[in-house]
């Protein structure tokens, strides 16, 4: 007879399947590299009209890259993973989950805007890298535990180590660029390694 723990393991198989091929990690890494490239370009450009345009374009780059990443992951899975190990359709998030995610995002944006508008953001550049590194690390830790995916612990460790390490270099706001470059490179490398292993373990077969 199956134990409740064995049943729980079977129920969460589909969640682990999402990162089995390394595609989400690879695309997420590319998005982070794109973000850091946009931030570096904005920083490097002189304060001219073009610099202003780029500054205004950055929020759009962030949003479009998020949507584009989702699209790219699905297209790559359709080409590489579904023909090998099958297709899984994931349940849509419930209304409550959507509201919670939107609430957390609004709260974070509001807190940041308040800090900047009230002039309390001074000195934030010293802690921004360790703080963001810690938040990303905790997110990977939660994901790793929920999905029982130990490889995500490696990214949690990298995020924390990079956040603290880059923070110690005292690069100011530029530390964020380096944090995303490091995280992006680590994520792409992990994704490529997992994709290679996945492709070797699952040669393509025709659909049943």
């Amino acid at each position: 007879m199956a134990t409740p723990s064995e049943l729980r393991d079977l129920e969460t198989r589909s969640q682990r399947y999402w990162t089995l091929d390394g595609i989400p990690e690879r695309v997420m890494g590319l998005v982070w590299l794109l973000w850091s490239a946009a931030l570096i370009a904005e920083d490097a450009l002189p304060r001219s009209a073009w610099g202003g345009v780029l500054t205004m374009a950055i929020p759009a780059v962030l949003v479009v890259s998020g949507v584009g990443a989702n699209w790219l992951i699905r297209r790559l899975k359709e080409r590489l993973s579904y023909p090998r190990t099958g297709y899984v359709g994931y349940p849509e998030p419930s209304r409550r989950q959507r509201l919670l995610a939107a609430g957390v995002a609004c709260l974070a944006a509001l807190s940041l805007a308040t800090l900047i508008l009230t002039g309390r953001a001074e000195g934030m550049e010293r802690v921004i890298s360790p703080a963001i590194g810690l938040v990303i690390s905790l997110a990977f830790l939660v994901l790793s535990l929920r999905q029982r995916a130990p490889h995500l612990l490696a990214l949690a460790g990298v995020a924390l180590a990079l956040g603290i390490g880059i923070g110690m270099l005292k690069l100011g706001w530029r530390s964020l660029n380096w944090l995303f470059i490091g995280l992006g490179a680590a994520s792409v490398a992990l994704g490529l390694w997992r994709l290679r292993r996945y492709l070797a373990a699952h040669p393509r077969e025709t659909q049943a």
Binding site: T3, E11, G86, V88
Partner: protein
């Protein structure tokens, strides 16, 4: 033991129902690779689950390739939830 659903209680079918409970839908190939069953066995157990009204089978195409999509029905989800409750009660959780 009498409270456990006999259709779901069979180990291979329990595996299939538990796998499907975590997804909106999945294709035959995914269930085949995750369940470790043979194609014949998988088809036979899916037919029993479909007969009991627990699984819905949709035959479609992805491009020119045939695709068999499977999903738990509402009654399948409710039967699985009931099975888990009975199992927990039996195990004294």
């Amino acid at each position: 033991m009498s409270e456990l659903d006999r259709v779901i209680h069979e180990p291979a079918r329990l595996r299939l129902v538990a796998l499907l409970s975590g997804v909106k839908e999945a294709d035959f190939l995914w269930l085949l690779s995750e369940s470790g069953l043979t194609k014949g066995n998988l088809s036979s157990h899916l037919a029993k689950l479909e007969q009991a009204g627990y699984v819905e089978v949709e035959k479609t195409f992805r491009g020119k390739i045939p695709l068999t999509l499977l999903r738990l029905t509402r009654s399948g989800r409710s039967a699985f939830a009931g099975y888990k409750r009975s199992l927990s009660a039996l195990m004294g959780d």
